[in-house]
């Protein structure tokens, strides 16, 4: 079995936090996601973490400390052995006429993996990542990348 297949099996084994459980944990209001009227369902999306003003949703705060699953796209890693990658809501299109330099979208999620070496997936192929959600500023000592929200001890595939 390929490593990626193993991870996928684990991710699909009903381990994701259900929306109902999220509510029970936090008692949060139903209107939580910036782009969806309904409560987010697992696997969650990076956008479920953010309001339009870029603040965190109540839903995101309710997930803190939980092992949860997010679906998105792996941005090309800053370093192969950095031990983390960035999960984006949409593929990281690089537009020569839009940006003069690397530009991160607002709705991203840093994924710190259990193993330091990143098994790179093409930037436009959907993946799922599962880990413990952590909120708060953290500057990566290797790359200087500043993240505001992360999945820790994550598996992905």
């Amino acid at each position: 079995m390929e490593r990626r297949d193993f991870l996928r099996l684990g991710l699909n084994a009903g381990l994701g936090l259900s929306a109902g459980a999220g509510l029970a944990l936090t008692g949060a209001k139903p209107l939580l996601a910036a782009n969806a009227g309904a409560l987010p369902e697992s696997p969650f999306k990076p956008r479920d973490l953010y309001e339009k003003d870029r603040s965190f949703t109540d839903f995101a705060r309710g997930l803190q400390g939980r092992r949860v699953t997010f679906r998105g796209f792996m941005a090309p890693p800053l370093k192969a052995d950095a031990g983390f990658f960035v999960l984006t809501q949409r593929p990281m299109a690089v537009c020569p006429f839009c940006e003069s330099e690397a530009e991160w979208p607002d709705d991203i999620l840093a994924v710190y993996t259990k193993r330091p070496r990143i098994d790179v997936t093409a930037f436009n192929v959907k993946i799922e990542a599962r880990g413990r959600l952590e909120i708060g500023s953290y500057r990566d000592p290797q790359t200087g990348f500043l993240s505001l929200v992360r999945l820790m001890d994550a598996t992905y595939g």
Binding site: A34, N35, K45, R47, E51, K52, D53, R54, Q89, R90, P91, A93, V94, C95, P96, F97, C98, E99, S100, E103, D106, A122, F123, N124, V125
Partner: protein
């Protein structure tokens, strides 16, 4: 041949006077068609001298993208979409515009905007320089600088504004005030020791000179030094220590960083910066950030203080970005906001004295699939044509792979069905992805594309131009993009 002759005779007999006798005369289509002719017959050319000129440019909103936005807007309005009329589509004058650059079949937004603002076609990646200028070679700037429509308007005593949802420094908004050998010199120019100025500096220079009175958009980080606060709450990235925001304020320019501050501005000149990079997509815009319509309102209010009139360019910059990302939904939503801004500008001005032009700088490699029945959601999957009635059937149209597809697709981009494999080749081992309607209509959905590319590309396809007001009737047929300048120039000073 005899049959043709008879048919021709029958047609000739069906003159306008007898039209009501035709069997189709009671059809609403027929009645509406006759009304359209009556409206055209009643049109009279407006040969007034234009006091104001407003040039609306939706970046990347060519004929196909405009079609998509029309259907989106109409369906949001509760209709089928096809028959919806966007505000600009009710304008009486129309032309098709050829958008190629001097050296590019597929244009970019810098020289296209430059063509509109100077009257001559320009070279790829350059803004407002003559055809001898070379991309990235600042030594070719000074001998090649062209005179801008904004400068001509200033000489005529008019005020000038530039508004965009993109950054104010590259391409379309910059073409109002800047001349550069590289559209990416937004916050820093080439090597020191040259006379070349970065584009942000050129904007503040223009505000100091009085050739720009209103500048509203994104791109704040090009105006303050690295790490220094921007008006919108972000941080600057200028490599030098020059704080252009402070400089502007020192010149008496009102500076706004959010909607509340913009609303509080009572007169010009005004600099509004609403994002460190681009302003938000309309779909993502927080309540405290002005929309394109908000910026349009304030710009017209401020510029209208000048009794001699104004020239205002307004860009919907992010239709283009959404297309580049293969994310048609955001292009639709930004396109609707563009239309709202046009309607507002039309309402705030008088057709007798204001020439309003609505166009795009270029099209994208976007295309519509078929055959879809009426009422098929333009942001979703293609439903089949029904045999009876008007609405589409409940059956999805399937490809030869027995999978449904969305109405909107792209020829290239991040949504390519071919993805990079572990061995570096590109393939689709499992075939084309099967898309549900729920997935397709999600705001973050990426349309399927053919050729894999990190960013979807422009195309050289024509764009439409709609116009009303003084001398708008000079637009017609298929024109070169630089002709737009000449109509504007004639309208403000008819000979």
């Amino acid at each position: 041949m005899k049959r043709f002759a008879l048919s021709a005779l029958a047609l000739a007999a069906a003159s306008a006077a007898q039209a009501q006798e035709l069997p189709q005369a009671s059809s609403q289509w027929f009645i509406d068609g006759q009304s359209a002719i009556e409206e055209r017959l009643a049109l009279e050319p407006n040969t007034n001298k234009a006091r104001n000129v407003i040039l609306f440019v939706a970046d990347g909103q060519g004929v196909a993208t405009n079609y998509m936005i029309r259907l989106w807007s109409g369906q949001q309005d509760g209709g089928l979409g096809d028959d919806y009329v966007q505000p600009q589509e009710a304008f009486p004058n129309l032309a098709l515009v050829k958008t190629y650059n001097i050296n590019a079949q597929t244009p970019d937004s810098a020289p296209t905007a430059g063509a509109m603002n100077t009257g001559v076609k320009q070279r790829f990646n350059l803004i407002n320089l003559g055809e001898e200028a070379i991309h990235g070679d600042c030594s070719t700037e000074a001998p090649s600088e062209l005179t801008l429509f904004s400068e001509i308007m200033t000489e005529a005593g008019k005020s000038v504004g530039t508004v965009s949802t993109a950054r104010l420094t590259p391409a379309t908004p910059a073409a109002v005030y800047a001349q550069t050998a590289n559209r990416n010199w937004g916050n820093e120019g080439p090597a020191e020791g040259t006379d070349s100025r970065d584009i942000a500096t050129q904007l503040i220079d223009a505000m100091e000179a009085g050739t720009v009175d209103v500048a509203l958009g994104g791109g704040a980080r090009a105006f303050t030094p690295e790490g220094v606060a921007t008006p919108n709450g972000g941080k600057g990235r200028r490599p030098d220590d020059v704080n252009l925001v402070e400089r502007a304020a020192g010149l008496g320019v009102s500076v706004a960083g959010n909607l509340e501050e913009l609303d509080a501005v009572e007169g010009g000149p005004v600099l509004g910066l609403f994002g460190d990079s681009h302003a938000s997509y309309e779909a993502d815009r927080p309540a405290g950030e002005p929309s394109l319509a908000d910026m349009t309102r304030k710009a017209i209010e401020v510029l209208s203080e000048n009794e001699n009139g104004f020239y205002l360019e307004i860009e919907a910059g992010r239709v283009d970005h959404a297309n580049h990302g293969g994310n048609a939904k955001r292009a639709m939503i930004d396109g609707k906001m563009f239309a709202d801004a046009i309607a507002l500008a039309d309402e705030m001005t008088d057709d007798a004295e204001t020439l309003i032009i609505v166009t795009a700088d270029h099209e994208h490699s976007i295309a519509m699939n078929g055959y879809c029945g009426r009422g098929t959601p333009i942001d979703g999957l293609c439903y089949d044509v029904a045999k009876e009635g008007i609405m589409h059937s409940d059956d999805l149209v399937l490809g030869s792979d027995d999978k449904p597809f969305t109405v909107v697709g792209y020829l290239n981009g991040v949504g390519s069905m071919l993805t990079e494999q572990e061995d570096g080749t590109f393939a689709a081992p499992e075939g084309r992805a099967e898309v549900t309607q729920e997935e397709a209509q999600d705001v973050d959905y990426i349309q399927q594309a053919v050729i894999p590319k990190s960013s979807e590309s422009h195309s050289g396809v024509d764009v439409a131009l709609y116009a009303k007001g003084p001398w708008a009737h000079l637009f017609g047929g298929t024109i070169e993009q630089n002709v737009i300048f000449h109509v504007m120039n004639h309208a403000v000073n008819p000979q």
